[in-house]
């Protein structure tokens, strides 16, 4: 019994090794590059001990470039390859005794490509999105009307300002800890403009501690303008917007101090936040304020959602800013992105249906590898 099993195994192995005896070797231009690499591919039985690759420019003298194994299957040669020149390659099969058993040859010319064919779907999508966004921005600039739904958190914000006035307590506005180059800070400051107008109308007080000097000057200007818009420029207090420190935790400690001292009726955290989000929200809660937050930082949204009364989630922050500022660039961009979302939903649904029918064309087309 045992003998027969061994015999069958032996036959099997023998036929396998006979089958796998075939070695193929191919050198070709490495596709979609700037003509400075050649791609070498081979298929060889795994039983082979080692393979040695060598290169020649004159097809006579070969210099070794690498030792590889059959399993590796590909090697990219990018050492001093020149665009447009022909190179010959030699694959040497080495046995366990370090002897060369056989040579295989192949040659290729490196060339640079004008278009990376792997990226067609990326290009199509990029053109689609960019044109949608630019089209709607231009449309809005020409005075075309674009509808943006009202973000439900905005009412809550106004109510909070009203409540602060009734209670005779101030509100605190924190525009995040990042600089003006972060879009979230810009969005936060846009909303600040709207809130400050309400504060001016209701004759309430506002505190805006900031942690970047560039944000300080912008925020000051915005609050001042809001008071002007509300028709009460004399009521603007330039000290209501102030710089604390650039440091993350120093800033948090400073804001915490303000919240505990001033006992505000409402805290607004709108902008980019990191680990400090929860410390702020917890301290704010202790002081008994209504808290409204908004950030696009994916790691911090859960904390704000859990710890604040209302949270603008991710893109809602930008939408709220566009809604309030009514600025054509923001509105147009948002509308263009919505077109992108619609395309994605349609393509996704189509993709799922096609996959279920066993047609993989769409998925393969969008696959960037």
């Amino acid at each position: 019994m045992r003998v027969s099993v061994f015999f069958t195994l032996f036959i099997l192995l023998l036929s396998l090794s006979l089958f796998a005896q075939e070695v193929t070797f191919l050198a070709q231009d490495n596709p979609n590059d700037d003509g400075e690499a050649i791609k070498l591919e081979w298929v060889a039985p795994v039983t082979i001990f080692e393979l040695v690759l060598a290169r020649s420019e004159d097809n006579i003298t070969f210099t070794k470039i690498a030792r590889v194994t059959p399993l590796l299957r590909t090697y990219i040669d990018d050492e001093n390859i020149e665009d447009g020149k022909e190179y010959s390659y030699r694959l040497a099969v080495i046995n366990d005794e370090q002897e060369v058993e056989q040579y295989y040859f192949s040659a290729a010319t490196a060339s640079a490509q004008w278009f990376n064919t792997d990226k067609i779907s990326l290009l199509i999508m990029a053109i689609f999105l960019a044109s949608a966004i630019v089209y709607f921005i231009l449309h809005a600039r020409r005075g075309g009307r674009l509808y943006i739904r009202k973000i439900s958190g905005l009412d809550t914000m106004e109510e909070a300002v009203g409540r602060a006035t009734e209670m005779g307590k101030p509100i605190v506005f924190v525009p995040g800890i990042m600089d003006l180059d972060d879009m979230q800070t810009i969005a936060g400051l846009n909303i600040l403009g709207h809130l400050a107008t309400k504060v001016a109308q209701y004759d309430s007080t506002i505190h805006v501690p900031v942690c970047r000097s560039m944000v300080l000057s912008t925020a000051k200007e915005i609050v001042k303008e809001s008071y002007l818009r509300a028709g009460r420029p004399d009521a603007f207090n330039p000290d209501s917007v102030y710089y604390l420190t650039d440091d993350q935790f120093g800033y948090v400690a400073g804001v915490d101090g303000i919240i505990l001292r001033e006992k505000p009726a409402a805290n607004f955290y709108l902008g980019a936040f990191y680990a400090e989000s929860l410390i702020l929200a917890e301290t704010g809660f202790e002081s008994g304020a209504i808290q409204i937050a908004g950030t696009a930082m994916p790691t911090q949204i859960p904390f704000f959602v859990a710890a604040c009364d209302y949270t603008l989630i991710g893109e809602e922050l930008f939408a709220a800013s566009a809604y309030l500022s009514n600025e054509p660039n923001q509105l147009g961009s948002l509308k263009g992105q919505d077109v992108g979302k619609a395309i994605i939903i349609v393509v996704l649904l189509a993709g799922v249906v096609l996959e279920m029918c066993g047609v993989h064309f769409l998925k393969d087309f969008l696959n960037l590898h």
Binding site: S121, L122, M125, A126, L129, L146, Y147, I148, R149, D181, T245, D247, F249, G250, A253, D256, G257, L260, T299, I301, P302, F303, V305, A306, I313, G314, E315, E316, A319, L334, K335, D338, G340, K341, A342, I344, I345, V347, L348, L349, G351, V352, L354, E355, M356, G358, L362, K363, L366, N367, L368
Partner: protein, 213 residues
Amino acid sequence: MEIVMHRVGIWIGAFLTFAIFSFLYKDNPFYKIAEQIFIGISAGYWFIYTIYNILIPNLFTPLSADFTQNWILLLPALLGVLMLCRLIPSIDWVSRYALAMVVGTTAGLFFKRYLQSDVLNQLNATMLNPFASGNIAQIIGELILIVGTITGIVYFFFSKKHEGAFGATARVGIYFLMISFGAAFGYTVMARISLLIGRLNFLLGDWLGIIKP
């Protein structure tokens, strides 16, 4: 002797740890001192490492070793110096040239990378045949994945009122978002507790020697 300075270091560390923990009670001078030391050392560390690991090997060494080959590096060096001009208010506008280059590079790279990694690849990864596996849990899971992703995107649709069937879809979307926020919160508890474990390990182990650190 080394043991002495090691012990001293550990005592300093323990003192600083308590100084920061005192913030839990309330803001106080000890916390403020510790915080300022933290800020100062951190800034000094960044400063030294930027010089040793970036400016010297990537700028000064190539320039001094082979100027004729690498003179082009004077250009980014000039832009870098312009960046530093922001410290002087009267000429801070020149830093915009350097900033423009930084912002332009980032915007260009972000445009294509986010499009590919966060939009197209995510889209592709959601194009599944949920019934392919035959495993009940996986079928349910993948259906949830597809429905959750689509309804979630619908929630972030701003140019249409959330009412009727569209509103109901967005409502489902917000439920999915809430589950994912809850899950993320629950997952994250571990992160913060880990840091506390690290601290107690230091206090009980290195400092007091109650446990083996």
